[in-house]
Amino acid sequence: MALILKFCIDLFAILLLALGIKGLSKVRSAREANRLAAVAMAIAVFGVLIGSFGSLLESPEAWVWIILGSALGGSLGAFTAQSVAMTAMPETVALFNGCGGMSSLLVALAVRLFPATDSSSGVIETVSIVISVFVGSITFTGSIVAMAKLKGWLSTPAWMQSKIRHFINIVLSVLSFVAIVSLIGGSDNELWLLVASSALLGIGVTLPIGGADMPVVISLLNSYSGVAAAAAGFVVGSQLLIVAGAMVGAAGLILTQVMCNGMNRSLVSVLFGGAIGSTSSGENNSTEYVNITSCSVEECALTLEAAERVVIVPGYGLAVAQAQHTLREVTRALEGNGIDVIYAIHPVAGRMPGHMNVLLAEADVPYEQLKEMDIVNPEFPATDVVLVLGANDVVNPQAKNDPTSPLFGMPVLDVQEARTVFVIKRGMSSGYSGIKNDLFDLANTSMVFGDAKKVLGDLLLELKELGISAKG
C-alpha cells in the first residue's frame, strides 16, 4: 500500500518538476513555476519518508540526523540566498551548484565505503557509484573554482594558459579513466585515486577559462550536477532521482548551448580555447589609444538635452557601482522631457545572460524598454546619443572589423553608428577580455571619467539646472 502511494507521489512530483522547468522558460509564468518546482521537491521528500515509514519508525535516531543535516544546510542556504547582492548572482549559483555535486559525491562514497552487509554490490551499482564520484567531484571543484574566479579571488596562473594545461588535463583524465576501469573490474584501491584525479580535473578544466565565458561553464557544471544526481539515483535505486537528474542534465545542456549561441562561441572553444585575449592580444599592434576625447558631465547633459532619442548600454560596471537606481532617475528625467529612452541589452551584458535584466528590473525599469541586441542594432543610426555605462567588450567594433581580434565574430552592439557616444568609465582600463576597445578612439565618442553612480548623480543635477527633471 505504502509502495503504491509512494509511486503516485513520485509520479506527481515528476509531473510538477517538469511543469516547473517548462514554466521557468517563460517570463509570465517563471515565478510560479519556480515555486511549483519547490513544492514538487517537498512532495518528493514526503514520498521518500512515506515509502520508508516502517523503517523510520524503528530508528528514531535517523530522525535526529535528518533534522540536523537539513536544518543546518537549509538555514545556511536561506541565509546565503537572502543576504547575497544581486550583482553576485553568478558566483552564488556556482556555489550552490558545487554543493549539489558534493552531495552526490558523498552519497556515492558512503555507499561504497560502508556497503550494506546483506547485498553484494553488482556491476551496475559499481558503475553508478563510480560515475557519481567522478561527475560529483568535477562538479564540486569546478564550481568552486568558477565561484572563486568570478569573485576575483583567483586569477589564471600564467602556466595554465600555456599548452601544458592540456597535457596535465589529459594525464588527469587518463588517471581517472584507469581508476574507473579498475574499480569496475572489482578492485577496491583506486577509489581515492578517482576522487583526487577527478577533483583536480575539475580545477584544471575550469581554471584556464576566461571570465567572460564563465556563465557557460557554470551552466555546463549545472548540467553535470544533474548527471551526478541521476547517477546517485542509480546508486540508491530511486527512479524519481534518475528522472529529475536526467531532466536537469539535459535541460542544462540545452541552456548551455543557447548561451553559447548568444555569445557566438562554440562550446568546444569555450572549454579548450582558454581565456580569450590572453594569448592572442599580441597580434593587434595598435594597443595604444591615440584619439581619446574626454568631456565633462555638463557637456554630456547639454547633448542629452538636445537629443530626441537616447539608448543606454548598461554593463557590469553599472552593476558594480550599484548605479541602476540613479540611472533610472536620469532616464525618468529625460522621459519627462519627451526624450525617447531605451536600454540596449547585450545577451551577455553583465556576468551572465539575463543578469542585466535582473538588475534593471530591480530599479523598476519597465520591461518594454529593454531591447535585445538584434532589435536595437538597426536603430543606432537614428539615435542621437548613446550612453555606455560600464560596458566595454560588448560595444567593441573590433568584433566586426578586425579579423585578427580575439573578439572577432562576437555579436556586438553597433553603438558607433549613433551620432554621439558617451562612455562613462572609471579609467582607460580594458574590459573583461583585456582587449583594447577601438570605440574609445572614434571621433564621435567622448569619455566621461568617473564612477558610474557619481557621474549619473552629477548628470542628474546638471539636467535639473537645464530644467529637465522627472514629472509627477
Binding site: S25, G73, G77, T92, S103, N222, S238
Partner: protein, 96 residues
Amino acid sequence: MEFADAFWVLLLGSLLGLELIGKVPPTLHTPLMSGANAISGITMLAALTLIITADGRTPLLLMGAVSLGFALFNVVGGFLVTDRMLAMFSRKSSRK
C-alpha cells in the same frame, strides 16, 4: 529496480529535459539556470535514503547528514535566490 527499467527511466528523463527547454528569452537565462540548479539538489533524496537505510551505523548516518546538508543548501538557497530574481520581474508587471 532492474537495470533495464532504470535505463529506460534515464533515457526518457533526458528526452523530456531536452524537450522542455526550447526557446528561452535571454532575460530568463540566469533565473532558469538558477532554478534548474536548485532542482539538481534533488540528490537530497539520495542522502535521505542513505540515512534511512543506514541501520544505525554511525559513519553512514554522519555522511548522510552532511550530504543532506549540502543538498539542502543547494535546494533552499537555489529556490530562494531564483525567487528573488523573478520577484523583480513580476513586481513591475503587477504595477502596470
